[in-house]
Symmetry: C2
Subunit: 307 residues, 2 copies
């Protein structure tokens, strides 16, 4: 039943048209674990931080019942830091600073107690590190979900291709799907990418929703139209966390249940973007999550009988 989450735990400094932050808690694994924690309570984290990482952040993760035994704290080194500034439309951003710090020589170690994991979520990291985690597991998980980004397509495509061939679900955005496949049509892109190994592909389109493909089927989940999108940082990771958290909870990896998981993931992402960083996905109630999912149902459901 347990979910293993691998990815960055980091500091971000974010500037959007609506404000800016100092160094705040960020990182793919942080968003994934927090989001998944609304669905499943056996979450094991593998990541790395420096000794500048505040203990209160670790306590906050533990409060969300995230097991941090696999979080390496490297003495005398600093936590990964990213600073970025979003354009006015929030769809594009410039990286101001990337300080790899502890990430430069990250050697992921899966603790023995994590070996029973049935669901593995590989957040965005170098494809080599992602592979290392898969190969450390003595028993292949029931489902492996991989997130990656264009950066690795640019500098480590052969390694990335190998990692992609080892997973069940790949999540990337539309521009990345086009880059990876060389196809503009997302339908054609999806079929080429599925031929690389994964049984499922999720194409994230930000404010335009998300598509789930397998070789025969396609499902589309809208994004919730929001009055204000404040900060898109972490939305994709929050989406992935809700997705795999829901699957881990329900133990059902059918296409129909993946549809549900995508709606729950989208609901979690819609919370994320309403405030800076992780602020809005800490301490939500089940009632709030259900209310948000109901908004997706109202948004997308219609009733047509073709007789």
């Amino acid at each position: 039943m347990s979910l293993l989450v691998v990815g960055t735990v980091a500091f971000d400094a974010i500037e959007t048209p609506f404000g800016k932050t100092d160094k705040i808690l960020g990182g793919a694994a942080t968003y994934i674990a927090l989001s998944a924690s609304y669905f499943t309570k056996k979450i094991n984290l593998v990541s790395v931080v420096g000794d500048d990482f505040p203990n209160e952040n670790i306590k906050m993760l533990q409060k969300h019942e995230v097991n941090t035994d696999g979080l390496q704290i490297i003495k005398g080194q600093k936590t990964f830091f990213w600073a970025g500034k979003y354009h006015n439309d929030l769809n594009n951003r410039d990286t101001i600073t990337t300080e790899l710090n502890v990430l430069e020589h990250f050697n992921p170690v899966v603790p023995e107690a994590y070996q029973d994991c049935e669901f593995l979520m590989l957040g965005n990291l170098s494809p080599q590190v992602q592979q290392q985690v898969i190969t450390q597991l003595k028993k292949r998980p029931k489902l492996i979900v991989l997130d990656t980004m264009n950066f690795w397509m640019d500098i480590a495509l052969p390694e990335l291709t190998k990692t992609i061939s080892m997973v069940d679900v790949l999540t990337i955005n539309d521009a990345e799907a086009r880059q990876l496949s060389g196809e503009y049509s997302l339908v054609k892109a999806a079929q080429k990418i599925l031929a690389m190994g994964p049984k499922y592909l999720i194409i994230k389109k930000g404010e335009h929703g998300a598509l789930l493909f397998n070789k025969e089927q396609v499902f589309f989940a809208p994004a919730l139209p929001l009055e204000d999108v404040f900060d898109p940082t972490g939305a994709g990771d929050t989406f992935a966390g809700g997705f795999i958290g829901y699957l881990a909870k329900t133990q059902d990896i059918s296409f129909d249940n993946m549809k549900r998981a995508i709606i729950f993931g989208s609901a979690m992402a819609s919370f994320c973007v309403e405030k800076f960083g992780t602020e809005n996905i800490v301490g939500l109630t089940e009632k709030q999550v259900h209310k948000r999912v109901q908004e997706f149902i109202d948004l997308a459901q219609f009733d047509i009988s073709l007789v």
Copy 2:
């Protein structure tokens, strides 16, 4: 039960990354009427062409049971002509030529036999001409749907605002909704535009689907992910035609039925973009339309019970 369609009947010359056409049949009212003809058989057309307009086009419309008594044929003048070239992503296009011709002094006349219309679809035209049609009707239709574009926002905003205040449903694209309202958030834009008079607003997002708003509710319909989008010309009009055609057929203008109408409109638009011009929306069978609508159902429907 009848549907009155007002708009251009025209020639288009289209260039896309996939090919180019000579002068072919185009015009908002052409697409609207053809698309609506799959749902309702009492379609009355008000438009204008020159004496260069081939009789075979008129016969084709009549074969789709479109009443062309209100189609003025101006002797010695030429039909409206537009030539455009699409960019590689098909989301943007440049106008190469616009020859207004008969449209320059178009004075729409609603024939007496059209006066019983219950549904009025005002395709994109000058807001003054659109108003003239509304004021010629002795009895207000059950539903008036207005399509317009940024061009009229740029050059005739006061007249456009007045026309908007007279209709029930406004259809525009996302950029136009932002321009008209001065709001980037489509949720905020929708509320400002609904305050201008219409009870419903449809925001068309092309390949990203369409949103339907009233003051309390919002519905999202996806676009069908297609292997090949060949030519987007007329897709918005085809969508509008399917939308109002379905409403005219079912005689139900509730929000729930508008949801269905938007799915049928989206299905019609998905046919339109697969070939040049009107080619792919002529002579479809009911079976083909239903099969396409079923693809939308499969694409968008999920089953979540929050208990």
